[in-house]
Amino acid sequence: MDEELHEHFTRTIERDQRVEPRDWMPSGYRRTLVRQIAQHAHSEIIGMQPEGNWITRAPSLRRKAILLAKVQDEAGHGLYLYSAAETLGVDRAELTDKLLSQKQKYSSIFNYPTLTFADIGVIGWLVDGAAIVNQVPLCRCSYGPYGRAMVRICKEESFHQRQGYELLMTMMNGTSRQREMVQDATDRWWWPSLMMFGPPDGDSPNTRQSMEWGIKRHTNDELRQKFVDMTVPQAEALGVRLPDSGLVYNPERGHYDFSEPDWDEFRRVLEGNGPCNAQRIERRREAHRDGAWVREAAAAHAAKQQQRGREAV
């Protein structure tokens, strides 16, 4: 019986069909998915903070509306993803606890501070850009609910990416101070964006298994290369310099060569020592703590309502 189920699962994967919540799946597959989806959901939620940092200071009402809507979309993405994770038998409160107790991670990119409004544009351009490169293949993820959530998310992310790029275009056509802000923000976010694809393939032991399971479709280095190739012409169109003297087109490979990111910094941030790790987690803990009485009130009211309903019968 067990073997039969396993074979069915393997065939589903091989034929590029979708595994659905009620289907049997190996526990490793389930665990990997839960971890990945949760981390992805947490990233959406924590990712609200660096951008949220500029909502009250956005320099025009139009930009304020765009930014507020974007941050709101991220909360929405978090909600879809927590729902997708719930189809695997975990619940959201449990995942929230794991985020707050730092037993689950979120994307390290959000541990960097947003220091100027140009960061909002650059996050749209580079960070959402990198996220899209990472996520488009996930739309074909073997696990149905995750793949379908990604379709919706990718659509909105592309929209955000265009808005970010458009902000940068506007700023590059603005005052010299605005152009300097864009260059400065690009300098700060370029390397962290490259790190978003994870460690080099040689240091990414789980990649092979994830690819076999149809969760991942490309290696970290493949995706990183894709992102660089895509981004260089965008930077040129923008008139911004990417901060890597090793970045040159290699006609033999048909790709851009580029320098290694500082993987020590990557590891330090991952281990909790980035510029904003403590602040990001503390903000969520504070919201959770300060909101406990509200959640309790809602639960108490719901229970009373149910009780009243029963008594009325």
């Binding site: 009402l61 959770h288 009211h301």
Partner: protein, 253 residues
């Protein structure tokens, strides 16, 4: 025309300042669903503010636009009621404030749909739908908090105690509002008080709570928010809101 422009600023500034306060809840609410809801309300109000400020600018016809009005007026030139300036507070305050504000604004906007000014009438028509949702959201939460735990009932009660002192100002028309109301352009809020009280009474009955007795916050020689006499909170809010726009006045975003 100056009068109409100023009236648009009044309603527009109300929306702009409250939108700012609500947007402060982003990343700070008790559940993601409520962060989404509060951001939605903030976005609706921001949209209303943009339409009203743009209308004020085009009526005044002096080269201003929504951004110059939002970012380059000083505190004394803002025309919003003081209620919307109060610091964020906790969720009990948020719910009480939003219930009071949206009940009042809904009463105003629903009359304003018949304004002699077609733009105001159109803005009001759109606003009525939005603010109806805001009021319902606040009312639902008032009921949950009032009927929830002892502690939540206390927080709601304190929230009302903090905001009710600013309610009489909402129903005290500025001379301009009265003047424009006579021309059927604006709405005189004074006669709307019974309708407002009735809504609050209904919500409080359902929530099993009673509104606290409070003293009214005073005016300065009769002047309040509509005259540019604000609380000390507004200056800090504007310093933050306007800081980047003012740091490079030549910039376009």
């Amino acid at each position: 025309r100056d009068g109409l422009a100023t009236y648009c600023l009044m309603l527009g500034d109300d929306a702009l300042v409250l939108s700012h306060r609500l947007s402060e809840w982003t990343t700070r609410a008790h559940e993601l669903e409520d962060e989404v809801a509060l951001a939605n309300i903030a976005l609706d109000l921001l949209g209303q503010a943009r339409m009203l400020l743009s209308r004020a600018a085009s009526v005044a016809g002096d080269g201003a636009d929504e951004d110059s009005l939002a970012y380059f007026r000083d505190e004394r030139e803002f025309r919003n009621v003081r209620l919307v300036e109060l610091p964020r507070g906790d969720f009990g305050r948020c719910v009480a404030g939003l219930l009071v504000f949206s009940t009042w604004r809904l009463a105003v906007l629903s009359r304003l749909t018949r304004s002699a000014d077609p733009v105001l009438a159109a803005v009001a028509a759109k606003g009525v739908k939005e603010v109806t949702y805001h009021r319902d959201y606040a009312a639902r939460w008032a009921v949950r908090l009032g009927d929830g735990t002892e502690y939540s009932a206390r927080r709601l009660h304190q929230g009302f105690a903090d905001v009710l002192p600013f309610v009489p100002e909402l129903f005290t028309p500025h001379e301009l509002e009265r003047e424009l109301a006579r021309q059927e352009v604006a709405v005189d809020p004074a006669p709307l008080r019974p309708e407002f009280d009735e809504v609050l009474r209904t919500v409080c009955t359902t929530a099993g709570t009673e509104l606290p007795e409070v003293s009214t916050v005073g005016t300065l020689a009769g002047g309040a928010g509509r005259h540019g006499v604000h609380t000390e909170h507004l200056g800090y809010l504007l310093a933050e809101m306007q800081s980047l726009a003012r740091s490079d006045p030549e910039a376009r975003w």
